[in-house]
Amino acid sequence: MKKQIAAVLTAVSVAATLAGCGSASTGSGASVVTAASGSETASTAETSGDTVVIGETSMVDSIDPTNNGDPWSLTADGISETLYNQDENGNLVSHLAESVVQNDALDWTLTLKSGMKFSDGSPVNAQAVADCINDIMANNEMATASCGVITATAQDDTTVKLATERETTVMESVLCEWTNVIYKKDSSGNYVFTGPYVVKSFNPGVSMELTPNPYYDDNASKRPNVKLMCFSDATAMQQAFESGEIDMAFTVTPDAATQLEGEGYTVKEMNAGYQYFAIVNMQKESLSDLKVREAINLAMNRDDMIKALKGGRVATGFFATYYPFAGDVKETTDVDQAKKDLADAGYTDSDNDGYLDKNGEKLSLNLVTYSSRPDLTIIMQLAADELSDLGIDVSTQIVDSIDDTLSAGQYDVAFYAQHTAPTGEPAYALNQFFRTGEGKNHNGYSSDLVDGDLDKMGTLPAGDERNELAKEIQEQVYKDLPVIYLVDPQWHIAVSDKLKDYEPYCGDYYVVNDQLGLTNS
């Protein structure tokens, strides 16, 4: 009997616990969610009239600028700033710095604008900036990739001396790298930043409420509040937009863009800054032949790709066309010439099986891409059709980790996307992809001309001469074809009337910029 009573009591207590969850949720899902999540201020707040709600497919994990990739997201969401940022034309500008001048190979002088403030009203002076830079260098090894550890020392209230371990000629770009945001801790131990917005409430992975930073500039009072919401599913985000619950869906797929436009919603195209290109595995025997690579390049119908993506431009090189160092390459489609090139390379359909072959071996290509950039899947499929028409035996594959696949050489042609100038300068990406033996040069490409030009670029400051060298390298790559330039894409965002004048730029690097909500007010 005692056992039964104990059993009943146990059952009742556990049932009561479970019922607590269940009944609360059936009665009011919100109440249980709010109580249990602990930090649900954002989700319980109704959107006010002057609040702009933005849907994104990912969200910052924490407000800690030294945590993983969070500084990147904090800047994209308008909370933090790097010392130099890109404007919509790809130029480097600074809200905080007057100038940064090279004194000698490893020594720079950074001059700050006077009167600038953190979001708590404290001054952005030389000491605060020096402390911040030294803290980043101590806590994020990724920040040391370009010129080693930077040691910052305050000289006076607005002057900071920067000493680098390795030489650089483009300190503005180094200070624009995503790791290098300006921050400090306030008296409560919370991080404060210098961006146009301040975090009001934050529910990790769910939502974040922002209010204008009153110390950012004179327009602070004109800026709306912002609520960022994370959607794990793009369809859910689209439905939230259609139901009027969010003012901007960042971003929508080409198909969704067409559908939304058809329904009368405003869909904008924005320069992605990212470039879509194909990496050719030159270590494979057939692809080591320049004629074969030229045939593949000529077979690519970039206009069809742009049509399928519902936006973008034919690539003119390795950078978005608005950069001063963008290439001047003219890509064309010529299927007949492509067929002739393959014939010149010795490929014919000798056994009449519909596929080209040489020395008894079929010309086969394995096209590879990855799922996190859905546009690339579309491009790859079009490319597969075009290459099949040439008589090439084509297979396609979507992999989880493209970099892993590339470094293992398990591909013939890989379709890839990258923002090639996130810091407004070309040398970093050109070095990574085209310098002999560098990190993203997975196909064994080596060119004395390219290596020499990259060496020269390393000694020049930003400017025309450097830009010309970048163009020359892109031209040489166009001739050698280790990489086939495809599309300079434009992405789509859906916006409500509140944001019909808003123009984001540079892909997902500045989703919430200081013009949000100002242009139509």
């Binding site: 146990t10 919100a30 599913d233 970099d403």
Partner: protein
């Protein structure tokens, strides 16, 4: 007492064996969290970068050290940090669990109650409305994915009629919709189980005897034959509880609910070893309590079990 000790011992063995298995299995994932991290930030796949991120994630230590460290800390309540976000896993679980648990438990409880009555009516009135409804719901479960129902629901009430704010309201609508859809999808199969159990009881001698004495078959079934049916229902529902974690991922995605299921799917995408390992152990602990509770309930209801 011995039976309960054996029950406890069995679950302890399951816990320890599963912890070793899951620790090994997640490391067989084709893409490592290091690769994911480097790809996410467009960083070159150089030896230096790989070594740095591997070190930062603590994956450079011998596997046995990693395992011992993880399991001992887990038992002490420290579930470690997410490899992707570097946030405390336990805190993240506690923040997200209420969403999934509410959807799962409320959905199952509602469906079990509804299934009992629908199944009962289906058994006593073969070919009647309840019989047809339960059959139709079973077919619906197998033929229409729940995300379609979710999308249609959002489209009509949110997009077309603009009656409900599923995404930016206080979460009540999204949670209610997710619970009702969960219940809808469980009620069909469960009601067929109940119907079958009642039909079997109808053929038993004690029911036929009571009916032959003039009692109404409906009343005999409901008041005297329901215990074995409830036992069958509880046994079936027991398995459903395993889906409380992870099973609601489609609905969480569709309604933008930040539950543990969404977190699990995202962690899989990121190959976040630490989160996946903790997740499996939490599911095992959860199922231990479900089995404990429902076995107690069965023992109270089913006399034969009690005597055994």
């Amino acid at each position: 007492m011995r039976r309960w000790l054996s029950f406890l011992g069995r679950w302890l063995v399951i816990f320890l064996v599963a912890s070793v298995l899951i620790f090994g299995l997640v490391r067989l994932m084709p893409v490592s969290p290091v690769d994911r991290w480097l790809s996410a930030f467009n960083l070159p796949y150089t030896e230096e970068n790989v070594a740095y991120v591997t070190r930062r994630m603590g994956l450079d230590r011998p596997l046995i050290v990693q395992y011992a460290d993880w399991i001992l800390n887990f038992l002490k309540g420290d579930w470690g940090y997410s490899l992707k976000s570097h946030l405390d896993i336990r805190q993240q679980f506690l923040a997200k669990l209420p969403y999934s648990i509410s959807i799962g438990i409320a959905g199952i409880v509602i469906s079990a109650f509804a299934a009992f009555f629908i199944g009962y009516r289906a058994a006593v009135r073969r070919g009647g409305i309840c019989d047809r409804v339960s059959a139709a719901l079973s077919v619906l479960t197998q033929s229409v994915p729940s995300f379609i129902v979710s999308i249609v629901l959002i489209y009509f009430f949110g997009v077309r009629l603009k009656l409900v704010r599923f995404f930016t309201g206080n979460g009540a609508y999204a949670m209610t919709a997710a619970i009702l859809i969960t219940a809808l999808y469980a009620v069909g199969p469960l009601s067929r189980v109940v119907r079958k159990a009642f039909r079997e009881e109808m053929r038993s001698s004690y029911v036929r005897f009571s009916v032959s004495r003039g009692f109404s078959p409906d009343q005999v079934l409901f008041f005297h034959a329901s215990n074995p049916v409830i036992c069958r229902l509880i046994s079936t529902v027991m398995a459903e509880f395993a889906t409380v974690f992870g099973g609601s991922s489609v609905l969480e995605f569709a309604f933008g609910i930040p539950g543990i299921s969404t977190f699990l799917v995202t962690s899989m995408k990121n190959s976040d070893y630490n989160v996946l390992e903790s997740y499996i152990l939490v599911v095992i602990i959860w199922m231990f309590f479900v089995h404990l509770l429902l076995n107690l309930a069965l023992q109270m209801i089913d006399v034969r079990r009690r005597e055994a």
